[in-house]
Amino acid sequence: MQPFVTHTGIVSPLDRANVDTDQIIPKQFLKRIERTGFGQFLFFDWRFLADGTPNPEFELNRPVVAGASVLLARRNFGCGSSREHAPWALADYGFKVVIAPTFADIFFNNCFQNGMLPIRLTEEDVDELFRRARAAEAGGSPYRLHIDLPNCTVGDDAGFSRTYAVDPFRKRCLLEGLDDIGLSLQHVDTITAWEAAHAVPSVE
């Protein structure tokens, strides 16, 4: 996995709550047996019109957010299906960071497995970021955020700066690009001993 330390990128606002993983990557694209190549299908039903051309109404298709790598979203982002194809599609499209007031649990975990950082900010802070992004875009330029993982900060060039919480283990895995299966296999002897002592689940 690629380490994640700091990142600066264009923010792409997606102003809707409860974006589910069926929207992030619709089911017809789950038949593939690879981990790569899903970016072209990201938000497929919103992003493309029936004739296959980009939908000019959809936020991510606006020229001002071209090349965005920070997705700004609303509450309960990534709800629904456990499909890891959702973070695969976001990462393959170019997103490194997703910011929202809340995330669905499975999606949140899946992000870390793919070198992508999900950041929870308060509803007020997310509102403020939407305002700042809109103001910048109204002036014709994209809105950029700087994300620093070692210090757990997110901020812009105009005075916005916040800290966020991230689980220390997840943080270390991201910073060092660690394979957590490899880490867990370092404890294989403990697992083997535990298994030998616990043939069936019993109340301890």
């Binding site: 409860n18 789950l30 047996i33 709800c79 456990s82 890891e84 689980d167 301890e204």
Partner: protein, 469 residues
Amino acid sequence: MSSTPRTLLDKIWDAHVVCTPSGELPILYIDRHLVHEVTSAQAFEGLRLAGRRLRRPDKTFATPDHNIPTTDRRLPIADPISKQQIDTLRTNCREFGVRLFDLGDADQGIVHVIGPELGITQPGMTIVCGDSHTATHGALGALAFGIGTSEVEHVLATQTLRQAKPKSLELRVEGGLHPGVTAKDLVLYLIGKLSTEGGTGHVIEYTGPCIRRLGMEERMTVCNMSIEAGARAGMIAPDQVTFDYLRGRDYAPRDFDRAVAEWERFPGDPEAVFDRVEIFQGGDVVPQVTWGTNPAQVVGIDAAVPDPSTFQDPNERDSGSRALDYMGLAGGTKIADIPLDRVFIGSCTNSRIEDLRAAANVVRGYRVATTVHAMVVPGSGRVKRQAEQEGLDRVFRDAGFEWREAGCSMCLGMNPDTLEPGQRCASTSNRNFEGRQGKGGRTHLVSPAMAAAAAVTGHFTDIRHWLYR
């Protein structure tokens, strides 16, 4: 070990933490790993690339369910990409020594139907699957939750997961359900009250007299939809209903009485404290119908589609009006006046024998409305055979329903069973997301009895006033 009173979740958790390395997440042991074709191929490939072995093939069970045709199984799978996904599952199971309930196996079916049905699911266990509806298995008093494909690979390689302990949420339901009101109505009602993220970060334990009175399959319906309230897992403490259900099943423990003696120790201690408690009255629940594009957008059959502009929360207002747009509905329309094009009875929520019996009882002696295309997709090969022994397939076919082979089918429409754009469907499944059953399709979630009644009348109909023949 501990004298502090503990919940069911606490007891299962404590019984499965292998160790917590300093500065790291706990390593949680996994008793059962259920595998299907859509979320496992990349995980097996990861094992192969890293030269790792499957640690416990004996605790891993696989079946194809999401992406399989429900029509004649003797015919080859038409879609070459779907066929490749099924073939890949076969190759992986053969190579790594996993028991596969393949197409054509008498016990094939939806993974969350066959786990309990075969007795693979047992109280006190930790159970995972690359599918968010894994919570279903919590109905038997297990801690069961959905995981992503990277985590599937982690379990394959280590038989463990890195997990922070979730918080506990007690949903206590007092009283009982009125006649005609089902477990599906109860869980839709609870999701409507909690919202789609009310359970995020929590494991729900359903408690109270109303829950205790539910049969085993009804409990599965309730736990199944925990994820629609944001909770990764839902559980119900094991009791005599659980033990009676499991006794004699293929994979149930051979020394069953000894197993029961252990399982009886898992229910939470009376003084155990939950992180959060919510209390509801079973008697408040009427048959439910979703009107929007998430399962919390739900009302009673006797109500009207709400007007989102009256909603307090700006997020809810925005998603509500977006949902009505997508659903082609106007606020104020009576639910009972909404006409249907399709009816789908199936999915891991409602495709078990009791669901099919309930639907068949409604349909018996009636015909499907000429404007409606209706289908029944049993949850497993066993459910299908049982239904056929009872003559339920005749009831459905005589009424004009299609009678299919077992699979996930139109719950997610990965296979050819999909809605056409604009088609409106009464569905016993679990998600009414935009495009879930087919691009542009409009899904209303209901109970099997309500779906059956809607198939007959062509619009939503209050099952409490149904004239059974």
